[in-house]
Symmetry: C2
Subunit: 430 residues, 2 copies
């Protein structure tokens, strides 16, 4: 049995649609998923451009949604009952979405929710694991990795099982595909910032370090925080799909907590800025949040932050690009005692800061990959809530630009790399 | 009027006791404090060794306790009523301890509790402000800076005003002097780690990111955390006085939260390791904490962390040294998805990490100076609780090695720099 797959060839910029064998179960924990849709992601471009040191021809893509067509022998058996729920409950025919990396779901790393760093973890669409831009994909450790849309009792949520089932009726595959990477990564960025100890005074309205403890007795020597002190100032550097998701998640978190804000979204590419503006307009019309939200180029943003904060800088900066100049900009824009959250994928260059710069600004950095599987419950709730943004295709406020067939694979990679199109989804069966 | 002061002369290693004018009020917000005791701190050694690029002769020292002998015209007047409490309530004769930097107490930075980065901030014992190793010291912005031990109603606490007054009866000046820098800095390090979002799963016993939200409905796909997952593994790099205070604060925080722990204290100097062991023995005998605490050299510590965690690494690492090799060791010892808290004072070298190293380990770094004045209420409570450690002088578990007069100043700097003595306090009147 053969299938069509989008394959990368070394050294760079060489994308071909080829006929390759349909993957088979290799391990009793495997599942084979028939892919209904697969997306192209900004981080696919590291390999595409030949920057990742990869030499092996392989199937691309780490964002996919589909249907289980085959399961290994470890599924549905009594010995699966102590394992993550899906080892017992996953069935052929179930509709599933996968995070961009494999995780076993049962080691200490996974139990703690750090699923993006599971020692069994493999990245789809890399030399170590064939990707999802194909008609079929093999999912190792599927009982820990997959998210089963056919059985809402297998994930926790702020919604009841009935509410989840009701919500699922209206959710398209293209919308649910946002769970594979970009939406959980955006939520990850926002959550780290909102929960950072250096951000706590603004969120709680109580000064550091009293924001962590039950109220103490006595008046203290402090002057109370005024309304301006409680305004969270945020810069989001990079307005690709993940940056927009980070903004959506941040706006949602601030609305829930009733924290007033000033947010600047920053990107040198005008098309991305326009997308972000359209998304924000949609959210504001839905009545979310109390604050100011602007979208600017880099130099305009420097001036705006200077103007907003009198030169002090932002409480927190989300870095959603993944290069040295974005990190340097984040340092410049963050306040003394602020937090930089970096979810960009970084390369081999040293961090562009001295120890003294870090000490003198009391700066914090959070780096790293989203533990996507662990983020799914929160990301799902946000996906349902924000169907005005995630539900559409090709509209001004849609994150998805177009759905194409595999004959457009090479051209789609080229155009995406050049910034000529936004998020592209492949339909392997069209 | 002249006084004795310990003065630094360029280029390095040149400490002299000189007769200099008694400082006078220069600004209506100033206070003049008669110093009863002043301490020598590890960070004084940056200037002492000539590493700080300083050329100006100046009075040393940023840790002092004393009595107010003169106040500027802004004190006790009606216009002081909207300002930090002490602008109205501070009186000549009050017993006060100062943090190591000045802070106004009323700008936005101070209101948020980031007092170590007040734009009016000056470091005592630096070219910009004469230090406290003298008979008298001028304290700018004293109403925001000082902590008034004579009026416990002017600071908040977990204790009532009566309990604070009762506690103060037993507290010596040498013990209270620990508030100036080392104790709040240690508490700062521990608090940042305990409250870091990446540490939250271990502290709360709930996986990331569900540790931040109210419990969601449904079982989820997760396997529950086991007892071992909930053990906090900590490395403390550097066991000088601040490192020991960080350990004390960490042990206290974990005992309050009933979090089981494995902590390794690390220092290449045997005398420091022995001090840390004696302090821990004292704390354990007082019944604090449930866990394992070992004190080791660097190579032994690497093996111990490997052994404890199966190569995974520590949940959090406190870096209390302030150089590149300590930061590199912190990176090596921290787990993927762990938090490095650095309170060491760093120099001009670049951070010793690439972006890829940071991304691939999902590591977080918190840098910077303790906002000492903001930390005083929590540090005071811990000072009272741990008089078994902070109350003594020259005993095995005492942080203070000796109290000497100014004739021993030059020799004390030399011996402290060589690691031949622990914390030294100067009595300017002996």
């Amino acid at each position: 049995m053969f299938q069509k797959a989008i394959r990368w060839h070394p050294p760079s910029y060489d994308i071909r649609v080829e006929s390759v064998p349909v993957p088979q179960i290799q391990h009793p924990d495997d599942a084979i998923v028939k892919v209904t849709l697969a997306a192209l992601c900004g981080s696919d471009l590291h390999i595409y451009r030949g920057h990742a040191g990869v030499e092996k021809v392989h199937t691309c893509g780490h964002e996919f949604i589909g249907e289980v067509v085959s399961l290994g022998s470890n599924y549905g058996v009594d010995s699966a009952k102590g394992r993550p729920t899906l080892y017992y409950h996953l069935k052929v025919g179930d509709r599933v979405v996968s995070p961009f990396t494999v995780n076993c779901g049962e080691c200490s790393v996974c139990r703690l929710g750090y699923t993006g760093r599971c020692p069994e973890g493999l990245l789809f669409g890399s030399p170590s694991l064939e990707g999802g831009q194909a008609q079929y994909v093999r999912v190792p450790k599927a009982g820990g990795t997959l998210f089963n849309l056919s059985d809402p009792s297998t994930w926790s949520s702020s919604m009841s099982k009935d509410e989840k089932e009701q919500a699922l009726i209206g959710l398209t595959d293209s919308s649910l595909l946002m769970l594979a990477d970009i939406l959980p990564t955006g939520v990850f960025a926002a959550l780290q910032a909102i929960n950072h100890p250096k951000v706590a005074p603004v969120i709680t309205g109580r000064p550091w370090p009293l924001c962590f403890s039950p109220p103490l007795e006595g008046p203290g020597n402090e002057v109370r925080l005024n309304a301006e002190d409680k305004v969270l100032t945020v810069a989001i550097i990079g307005l690709g799909p993940v940056g927009v998701c980070a903004a959506i998640s941040m706006l949602d978190a601030l609305a829930i907590r009733q924290v007033p804000f000033r947010i600047v979204g920053i990107d040198p590419v005008e098309a991305r800025r326009e997308k972000m503006k359209a998304v924000y307009t949609t959210i504001v019309q839905a009545g979310e949040g109390t604050g100011e939200f602007v979208v600017l180029s880099i130099e305009e943003a420097r001036e705006k932050v200077e103007d907003w904060t009198g030169g002090v800088g932002c409480t927190t900066v989300l870095e959603v690009v993944g290069n040295t100049s974005a990190l340097s900009l984040a340092y410049d824009l963050v306040r003394a005692f602020g937090a930089v959250v970096s979810v960009g994928v970084h390369g081999a260059l040293p961090l562009p800061f001295t120890g003294r710069q870090c000490y003198n600004k009391n700066v914090s950095f959070d780096f790293g990959r989203c533990p996507a599987r662990a983020m799914f419950p929160l990301a799902f709730d946000l996906l349902v809530k924000r169907q005005d943004v995630f539900g559409g295709i090709g509209e001004p406020a849609s994150l998805i630009d177009r759905v194409v067939d595999f004959t457009e694979a090479a051209e789609s990679y080229r155009a995406f790399d050049k910034g000529e199109v936004g998020k592209v989804i492949f339909d392997p069966w069209k």
